[in-house]
């Protein structure tokens, strides 16, 4: 049994088939890439897995248990963590609090313990703070703990999104274009970071990326989406040799050049 098994994922918006009968999976410790031209339905696939939209059809099994139809917060708590393509950090909170917030749903203390300054509350608050600090240190942000996220440069905000996702305790981590906007040396550093995190936590990673360096270095399996449909899947070598894939991409390059 795969850790994550997605079958026949389908979703239309009005007349647009954003995701069309897409099946894929990921094993424990595996890094899986999802690529495809703009508008191919990659982000929508993530939004379906995390319960942002209901599915039209299909099923999502995590360790054999169905996630489709559950609430977003339940899906996260059962072990799907994510980052967002267009960064969505919590503006009113500090960098550290952003990460703490993602661990807070697992805090068992109640209002009574809080209002009586009970031991359960004080202990858990210390634990969450320490854990969040550790996640920040993992991505190299510990010295920005008290900053507001909006004061961080773009690349660091992306790292904060990852630290926050780690705090949800994922079995599968979904990264949506995590290297967008990074410069070449930051991209290389990022590739190292994802490898380290995988080693440390043993989770599966699904990564959407346009930067081929990231996909080709990290992923053991790649799925190519085009107009919502699976165009090809295979190892990096197989994908590189696939003519249809190159065409889909060259077609897109042409389109963007002619604008």
């Amino acid at each position: 049994m795969s850790l994550l098994e997605v079958r026949n994922l389908t979703k239309s918006f009005g007349g647009v088939r954003a995701v069309d009968d897409f099946s894929f999976g990921a094993e424990q410790g595996e890094i899986v890439g999802i690529i495809g031209p703009n508008g191919a339905g990659k982000t929508t696939a993530f939004n379906l897995i995390t319960g942002v939209y209901p599915l039209d059809r299909g099923s999502i099994l995590l360790e054999g248990k169905e996630l489709a139809g559950k609430e977003q917060f339940e899906i996260t708590r059962s072990g799907i963590g994510r980052t967002f393509q267009n960064i969505r950090l919590f503006k009113g909170l500090s960098v550290l609090e952003n990460v703490m917030t993602a661990a807070d749903p697992y805090s068992p203390y109640g209002l009574f313990s809080l209002f009586t300054l009970g031991a359960a509350f004080r202990r858990r608050e210390r634990e969450v703070r320490a854990a969040a600090m550790e996640y920040l240190a993992l991505v190299g942000l510990e010295k920005y703990a008290d900053e507001k996220p909006s004061n961080l440069p773009y690349g660091l905000q992306r790292k904060l999104e990852i630290a926050r996702a780690l705090a949800t305790g994922p079995k599968v981590l979904l990264l949506d274009e995590p290297a967008a906007g990074l410069n070449p040396s930051e991209v290389r550093e990022f590739i190292g970071l994802v490898g380290e995190l995988r080693e440390r936590f043993g989770f599966a990673v699904l990564v959407i990326e346009h930067r081929m360096e990231v996909i080709m270095t990290l992923c053991s399996r790649i799925y190519v989406l085009n107009f919502g449909k699976l165009l090809a899947s295979g190892t990096p070598a197989e994908i590189r040799a696939n003519h249809e894939v190159t065409e889909a991409y060259i077609g897109k390059e042409d389109a963007s050049c002619s604008v």
Partner: protein, 287 residues
């Protein structure tokens, strides 16, 4: 001196009510335009229990708070899943419905004539202790998992859900806590004025409280406290007639909206850390 004491008492009572709005609007980003109705529920329930049924004070107060929380549950359950603008409408409707209900059940509430002869139990020490306790509870709430998650959902509800936050439950808990605080402020109010009438609790009060939170700086508790003192005290202090109150609100709101869009305090709080920064470092480090 009496006049001073009574102003302090009214300010304290208002502050406890505003704390409820702070939780809902400042912390969670929702609007409750019927919040004053919880004050009415607290005041009327405690008054009726004591006057008509000879219930001792402490259980009467406890029951009044429970009644306010039940009402909050009643409004909260169906509304927390609605869009934010609908929540404002539903709470507005609820508040006006409560006022209408009080007006129309004259045999228990005295209707539009109001209810009088409530014992005067609210004294300056009672109000001061109440303010300190309520403020402490709200500070704790803000600096716990509850407050962090509220601020997170206010800033980005979708991302909050994706971090495992059960936003509906959290909104409901916040509604209940706010209802309890505002209900308690109603208890204190009735026990001070010894007289309650439905018209004192219409939506205008709720709107004023919402304005106070905005003037203070949406998620700053310090700002909320300062703005409450400023806006309830200033008109009294300058001995303006009450019709000037609304005009003063408008002027202050316009000034804030134009010159200080984040409110008096913005997101800042008065804490040992900010105090040290204010006193120690005169020049802000550039960033």
């Amino acid at each position: 001196m009496d006049y001073f004491v009574s102003t302090v008492i009214f300010t304290g009572i208002a502050l406890i009510g505003v704390l409820g709005v702070y939780l809902i609007t400042g912390l969670t980003g929702l609007f409750s335009l019927g919040q004053a109705a919880f004050m009415a529920i607290g005041g009327y329930v405690s008054a009726v229990l004591i006057r008509n049924y000879n219930v001792p004070v402490v259980p009467a107060v406890a029951l009044a708070i429970v009644a306010a929380m039940l009402a909050a549950l009643l409004v909260g359950l169906p509304t927390v899943r609605l869009r934010r603008d609908y929540i404002s409408l539903v709470t507005l409707g609820f508040g006006e419905a409560i006022v209408a209900l009080l007006n129309n059940s004259a045999n228990i509430t005295g209707g539009a004539m109001g209810i009088s002869g409530i014992p005067q139990l609210t004294t300056l020490p009672v109000v001061l202790v109440s303010v300190v306790v309520c403020l402490a509870l709200v500070i704790l709430y803000k600096n716990s998992k509850y407050g962090r998650q509220c601020l997170a959902l206010r800033s980005d509800e979708l991302a909050a859900k994706s971090m495992g936050i059960d936003v509906y439950r959290l909104k409901l808990i916040t509604f209940l806590f706010a209802g309890a605080l505002t209900g308690y402020s109603g208890v204190l109010f009735g026990f001070y004025t010894t007289y309650l009438e439905p018209a004192a609790f219409n939506w205008i009060i709720s709107a004023e409280w919402t304005i106070i939170v905005f003037v203070g700086g949406v998620n700053s508790l310090t700002g909320t406290v300062l703005a409450t003192i400023l806006l309830t005290w200033l008109p009294e202090f300058l001995r303006f007639a009450s019709e000037w109150r609304v005009a003063i609100y408008c002027v202050i709101v316009l000034l804030i909206v134009n010159y200080r869009t984040a409110g008096i305090m913005g997101e800042r709080e008065l804490s040992p850390k900010t105090l040290r920064r204010l006193l120690g470092r005169t020049k802000e480090a550039p960033r």
